[in-house]
């Protein structure tokens, strides 16, 4: 058996995980819809939602209906989808590169997407162009990372992470250049606000865009779950076992880049989720990717919905997402590193 699967043990009672996880997901989602700065009772939220399926008496509060359906619902769903996508992307990337420190932000995809999106906002302002720009430059970033990392004979993980940090720094500098060149009155405030990361401008068209990206990007990655188990043995062994390593790697890279870039395009840069959630999922269900990827999706969705609800409800002013994801994510990550120290991860 591979050293990876043997060394990291899942918690006991893994069969309870899925019912529990789905239940928590539903609870958290509904709870998020009832929480907010505008007073709405949970029963009223339920009635408003149910009214869409079969007619019920919602009372005459148009305001409550619109707050639930136009402000909270798209936002919660967007957070759910983005969290799930980032969780899966993080897990897939960590397995692909066989490196626990890897995540969409460390590998430079997120800063790369930020540059493309900022450039698109400056040049056009069309939301579709922002998505396209974010995707293209996210892809460019990951290509650069692979080029740098393969400068030597083998791409070992340290080189990979270093290359990711360097490329990330490069694209962050390019983002600064874009903010320098942007028109101070119209383009710059839009770019800066977008970069901070927020779901506050969530609407159904952004939800559609992300859903499309997830469909195109994550579904193939999910389909390759078992093959990721084999890839964990190392590329040479996987190839020897008959796996077509090249196409698998490209599918995963392209798919994860698409969803990360799209989530950056609709919600700005969200750090830590892609890095921490896969570790949590691995603790709960083990390293078998057939369970790990869906578990990362569920946990990522739950995490980001909770974070976004905090950001929009704790104070009258909106807290940027990156503040809370960093405050929570960094200590959790350190804890996980301590727990997993010396077990399991062998970097070939």
């Amino acid at each position: 058996m591979s050293r990876v699967t043997a060394a990291v043990r899942p918690l006991p009672l893994p069969n309870l995980f899925w019912p529990l996880a789905i239940a928590v997901l539903c609870l958290v989602t509904f709870g998020a819809l009832t929480i907010g700065r505008f007073e709405i009772a949970p029963a009223e939220v339920f009635v408003i939602l149910a009214n869409n399926l079969w007619p019920m008496d919602t009372g005459d509060s148009v305001a409550k209906e619109r707050v639930v359906e136009l402000v909270r619902l798209p936002r919660v769903l967007l957070a759910l989808l983005a969290g799930a996508a980032l969780g899966v992307a993080g897990a897939a990337l960590q397995s692909l590169f066989r490196n626990p420190l890897v995540g969409p932000d460390i590998l430079g995809i997120a800063p790369g997407a930020a540059f493309g999106g900022a450039l698109a906002i400056m040049l056009s302002g069309n939301p579709w162009m922002t998505v396209a720009g974010a995707f293209t430059s996210g892809l460019a970033a990951i290509f650069l990372v692979l080029m740098f990392a393969r400068a030597g004979a083998r791409a070992n993980s340290l080189t990979l992470v270093l290359a990711g940090v360097v490329v990330g720094a490069l694209f962050s500098a390019l983002v600064s250049l874009v903010t320098f060149l942007a028109d101070v009155e119209s383009e710059l405030p839009a770019i800066l606000y977008w970069l901070l990361g927020s779901f506050s401008s969530a609407n159904y068209s952004k939800l559609m865009v992300l859903a499309l990206a997830v469909l195109i990007g994550i579904v193939p990655v999910m389909a390759l779950r078992f093959r990721l188990n084999v890839m964990a043995l190392g590329e040479d062994e996987a190839a020897a076992l008959g796996l077509r390593v090249g196409p698998i790697r490209w599918t995963i890279l392209l798919g994860t880049t698409l969803v990360v870039a799209t989530s950056v395009a609709v919600a700005g840069v969200i750090g830590w989720v892609g890095l921490v959630v896969p570790h949590l999922a691995r603790m709960l269900v083990g390293p078998d990717h057939r369970a790990l990827l869906p578990a990362s999706a569920v946990l990522g969705g739950i995490a980001l919905v909770i974070v976004d609800t905090l950001c929009r409800s704790l104070t009258a002013a909106e807290i940027p997402l990156s503040v809370i994801t960093a405050i929570v994510g960094a200590p959790v990550f350190l804890l996980l590193l301590r727990r997993a120290a010396g077990t399991g991860w062998r970097n070939a």
Binding site: G36, R37, F38, E39, V62, A63, R66, V67, L70, V71, R72, F180, D183, V184, E185, S186, P189, A190, Y193, S198, S200, S201, R312, A316, A317, E318
Partner: protein, 372 residues
């Protein structure tokens, strides 16, 4: 006191000593009079950072970098006067407001003297041959040091509230030799606040909840309790719905609906922003303000009325008329026209006043091309 001492001393001491004492006394009188006058507003004068501005005569060519400074100088001098160059945003505001029509010469002044973030382009500044530069003092010494290194006198000002604008006015008055106009403008502010005092004394229940939206199109941001917009709202007899926040903060639509303001004020500088952005929004359109049609865009007179400026008395009057229309029985057009004429010394055409106060008020400069 000094004269009594002198008489006693002449009766006691000899002639030579008397002569020395005379000279010393004269010197003392002159020096004490001089320091009293400097406090009164005579060059050389201290700027808002407490630095002595190296100017012996009123300036004849001034470069202004803070955005409200150029229109303020035009107001003090009732013409372009010694204004030699300004910030490109100042020119956008001048073009969008009435000063572009009253003083067309202002539109052809150079604006290339400033780079990104109020950083002075020293060579461009020197090319205009100024004898004074007005610059922000509370944004770091990097903005001032290059100018001083080039040998230019710099007067530094701070961004703040009502007290700061009064200091700006007296400082600029001394620097341009227009102390009388400066006093007049400061007195006008005092009079305006006094006139609106009855509105401030109303019980809270009769003061409408007002929300100023600092940004709308690139994310909703409101002005908190320590901003000048809060001061303006309170001066005009309103209550700031966002008073619990500090500075300019992002909020979501749900929070605005929860505050349910009775009046919404839109900023004057986002291009393309109109009240329809609020009234047509499915969530913001449900606020009391949108339902009653009380969504107003901050006007531009000679300069924008949102931030602290020399036209704040007009802004307060306009706002009070919007907040308490039944209590303030005033012909707003006539009043605004009269006050603008008093500031700038020029008669304003009715079309200009209509543009300042009208619903399709030119709050947006739309002049991104003004950045040259």
């Amino acid at each position: 006191m000094q004269i009594q001492i002198q008489i006693q001393m002449t009766s006691i001491l000899g002639a030579a000593v008397r002569r020395t004492v005379c000279v010393c006394t004269v010197l003392a009188v002159v020096l004490s009079a001089r320091s009293a006058l400097a406090a009164d507003g005579v060059l050389p004068v201290r700027d808002q950072l407490g630095r002595l501005v190296a100017l012996e005569q009123p300036a004849e060519r001034i470069v202004t970098i803070p955005m409200p400074a150029a229109p303020m100088l035009i107001g003090l001098q009732q013409g372009v006067g010694s204004l030699a160059a300004m910030h490109p945003e100042s020119r956008s505001a001048i073009r969008a407001g009435v000063l572009g029509e009253l003083f067309p010469a202002a539109l052809s002044l150079p604006t290339n003297v400033v780079g990104r973030g109020f950083m002075p382009n020293v060579e461009a500044v020197l090319a205009t041959k100024p004898d004074l530069v007005i610059q922000w003092g509370n944004r770091g010494s990097d903005l001032i040091a290059p100018l001083e290194a080039a040998g230019l006198p710099v007067a530094a000002v701070q961004y703040g509230g009502e007290e700061d604008i009064r200091e700006w006015l007296s400082l600029f008055g001394v620097l341009t030799g227009e102390q009388a106009n400066a006093k007049r403008l400061i007195a006008a502010r005092h009079e305006a606040l006094e006139r609106l005092a009855p509105l401030r004394r109303l019980p809270d229940a009769e003061k409408p909840r007002v929300l100023y939206l600092f940004r709308v199109l690139s994310g909703l941001q409101v002005a908190g309790g320590d901003t000048f917009n809060d001061f303006s709202i309170r001066s005009a007899g309103g209550r700031n719905a966002a008073a619990d926040l500090q500075g300019f903060k992002p909020v979501n639509r749900e929070q605005i609906l929860a505050w349910n303001p009775e009046v919404i004020l839109l900023n004057s500088f986002e291009p393309g922003l109109t009240p329809a952005h609020i009234t047509d929004d499915p969530v913001l359109g449900l606020t009391a303000a949108a339902a009653a049609g009380r969504v107003y865009q901050m006007p531009i007179g000679g300069y924008r009325w949102d931030p602290p400026s020399h036209e704040s008395p007009l802004a307060w009057l306009w706002l009070a008329a919007r907040l308490h229309p039944e209590r303030l029985d005033v012909d707003l057009s006539a009043q605004i026209s009269a006050q603008l004429t008093a500031i700038y010394g020029e008669k304003l055409a009715p079309a200009m006043i209509a543009r300042v106060l009208g619903p399709e008020n030119a709050g947006q400069s739309g002049d991104s091309a003004a950045h040259e």
